[in-house]
Amino acid sequence: MGNFDLLMHGFSIAITPTHLMLMVAGVLMGLVVGVLPGLGAPNGVSLLIPLTFALDPTSAIILLSSMYWGALFGGSTTSILFNIPGEPSSVATTFDGYPMARNGESTRALTLAFVSSGVGALMGIMVITLLAGWASQFALKFGAPEYFAVYFLAFAAFIGMGSASPAKTLVSLTTGLILASVGMDTVTGAIRLTYGFSDLLGGVSFLVVVIGLFGIGELLSTVQEGLRFRGVNSKIDLRDVLKTLAELPRYWATTLRSGLIGIWMGITPGGPTAASFMSYGVARQASRKGAAFGTGRPEGIVAPETADHSAGTCAMLPMLALGVPSSATAAVMMGGLMIWGLTPGPMLFATQPDFVWGLIASMYVSNLLGVILVLATVPMFAALLRIPFTIIGPMIVVICFVGAYTVGSATFDLWLVLAFGLVGYVFSKLDYPLAPLILAMVLGHKAENSFHQSMLLSDGSLGIFFANPLVTGIMMVALALLILPKTLGLALSLRRRKEIAP
């Protein structure tokens, strides 16, 4: 029964005027950082680290983590309004969020995103509270084959029911895999596909590609269609927010499922980006209106947002308990931990209860603050869409390029944005899906590494992916998600034909 008492003790540390102020400041800064594409949570948090030298570790982590939550909230804003994901993990939110905003329901889309983010976060924190000890044991069970199985599952869940033509999906997926393999390979140490360009040594940044594909690509399409911003909404009303809130309980199943996926991917380092994609894919497969996904379905916003945020919060657990960060932001925070003189690892929970439980308690409070702050600003964000395109268009271009530059402070990335802007434009004109490309870029290299490591371990036998119940279980679910939708669809259409035939 220790956990509950410890949590209460944590609240007594977290709820002090100074800490509350730090939370509000952190969340607000995070919102700004999240809204600007490129200047994502990892950059924002690392910029803040020097400021934390003067704080004690508990206050410092509260400030940094609040900023992370703020960035997660903010990241969805530009995804929905401009089709530019502020954070990698909000890419999946663009699929239905942007169409919904374009249909004139931007307030609804934003409210859905923020509230389900908040719910996802809450689910994540509760799991952390309950399972602080046990979850780290579970994560220890994951070796290379298990990791590969998880990534395979993410691919399978997403691709199982692709709506585009299979050939086009394949082209998009392969392009993503090729892009993901640029740079130095971890397992062999070989430098691949850089063609002597030293700028490519670090690989092609996923975020830069996304900014180009979505931000610039979308802008080009808009310009072609007559300089009209397509998301114009005439009426923004607090009543819209309330109406959407009342609508939310309807999606309880999606929320629950996505929350669980997020928790799982957060604890077993898959990361929020993988979680949001996987959750979107699963929601589409589970929904009876799966085919309508991509046109502004509410579930298509609820699913990735819930998973993103629950994974984001749960990612703190392996970082603290194992020293393995499952998101880029968690990695930066871990660096902070080391500088403040704390050693992440199983003993942190025993030796630094004030720090750990202060942080966990602060997560409840700051996420609640986050939802309130962000909901209060919904009308303001949505009003952005009423600015004429001639003003907002150039601003988006500036934001895109500034954002891409902040990723790695490299001029070369600006050319990449331009190039991928054209690719994005061509892809959308020719109806090539972008999502498989993004998924392959995010997970391609990780999947390849863990596959390679597994093959080294097993001397090249594929049997290693069915060697124990855990990995077999994940592989089976993945295969089912990959094959079932097609075969079921086929069987259904056969039966329907039979019914019609007589």
Binding site: S46, G202, G323, P344, G345
Partner: protein, 332 residues
């Protein structure tokens, strides 16, 4: 504080000679880090940043820039592109001069000017707590009995970890299997979970798992035992770990220096300035705290001492590379 810094400045002038201490930064200093945020080199650079800020050693701003692509090659290429820029400090390990031997890269070690080595990170052999081997020789004999059956995990390929495993193989004739992972923390967890049999992590990468009793060290690759410390796991502290030579494994020294560089072509005054402020950092409480928290061995090598250390370390490691056939055509 002003009196103190004035005194320090005065001593610096006294030792280095008036001509050499004249340069001072006129713009913010860029700290170019050859690892991603949160990595070992990143912590090294940020600790120095923090020590310099808190003790008012430098009154200019310092901006940390992570360029960890290609095992850090990105940062060293950046140094080449910014030759003679006195406002860029590059933070790395021995990868600065070792990388060009194993990969074809568009820079060579001559593109960077060594400034200082401030710490030596130790390497240990670690096994899972319930593993059957009590000494390094037992582990090696098990590998001799069944070649390739014992799996070492390590970070990256042809980097310090794999080099050490290769060195053990070359010294003893045993044959291990080596699996590269992304970083030391990940390798520590893979060992604690029993997915690999052993690793050669630095103390800091495994301390959490050791504290929890999930893994234990067999020996340290250092000529003498590590510094006295509080007990870490049970009643065992860092000083209680035997050296590998004590245990009959004949590798006297394998340590990784934490190094600071400038782009080549800066004035000698600039090098002298940075040598001076980094020597001041080594004396701060923040720095001592960092060394003891991460269980690294103190070192403050500059000038000829540093050049000699680099030459020796490079020669010894390249011998291992050549025996493994890793050296690239370009470097031979």
């Amino acid at each position: 504080m002003t009196l103190k810094s004035a005194l320090i400045a005065a001593t610096a002038i006294g030792t280095a000679g008036p001509a050499l201490a004249e340069w001072a930064p006129t713009r913010p200093i860029e700290f170019v880090v050859a690892s991603g945020a949160g990595g070992g080199t990143d912590n090294f650079a940020r600790t120095i940043q923090s020590a310099m800020t808190r003790n008012e050693i430098v009154d200019r701003n310092m901006v940390v820039l992570n360029k960890g692509g290609g095992s850090g090659a990105e940062a060293f290429l950046y140094a080449r592109q910014n030759a003679a820029d006195p406002h860029k400090l590059i933070f790395g390990t021995n990868n600065v001069y070792l990388l060009p031997h194993v990969a074809q890269l568009a820079y060579s070690a001559e593109d960077l000017q060594p400034v200082a080595a401030l710490a030596l990170d130790e390497f240990l052999i670690w096994v899972k707590a319930d593993a059957p081997w009590q000494t390094p020789m037992e582990l090696i004999e098990a590998a001799m009995a069944e070649p390739g059956s014992i799996v070492f995990g390590g970070s990256q390929s042809k980097d310090t970890d794999e080099t050490l495993v290769a060195l053990i193989e070359q010294t003893t004739g045993a044959d291990f299997k080596y699996i590269p992972f992304n970083g030391g923390g990940e390798v520590g967890v893979q060992l604690a979970g029993g997915h690999v049999a052993a690793n050669v992590n630095n103390p800091n990468e495994n301390i959490g798992q050791w504290q929890a009793g999930a893994i234990r060290p067999l020996c340290v690759f250092s000529p003498e035992r590590m510094a006295e410390s509080e007990p870490v796991s049970g009643d065992m502290g860092w000083h209680d770990i035997p050296t590998c030579v004590e245990q009959g494994l004949d590798i006297e020294r394998y340590q990784m220096p934490r190094t600071v560089w400038l782009p080549a072509g800066t004035e000698p005054e600039v090098v002298a300035y940075y040598e001076d402020i980094l020597t001041q950092v080594a004396a701060t409480a923040e720095w001592q705290d960092y060394l003891s928290k991460t269980s690294q061995t103190a070192a403050a090598l500059t000038g000829d001492e540093l050049t000699a250390f680099i030459a020796e370390n490079e020669a010894a490691t390249v011998t291992v590379f050549e025996a493994e056939g890793w050296t690239t055509a370009a470097a031979q």
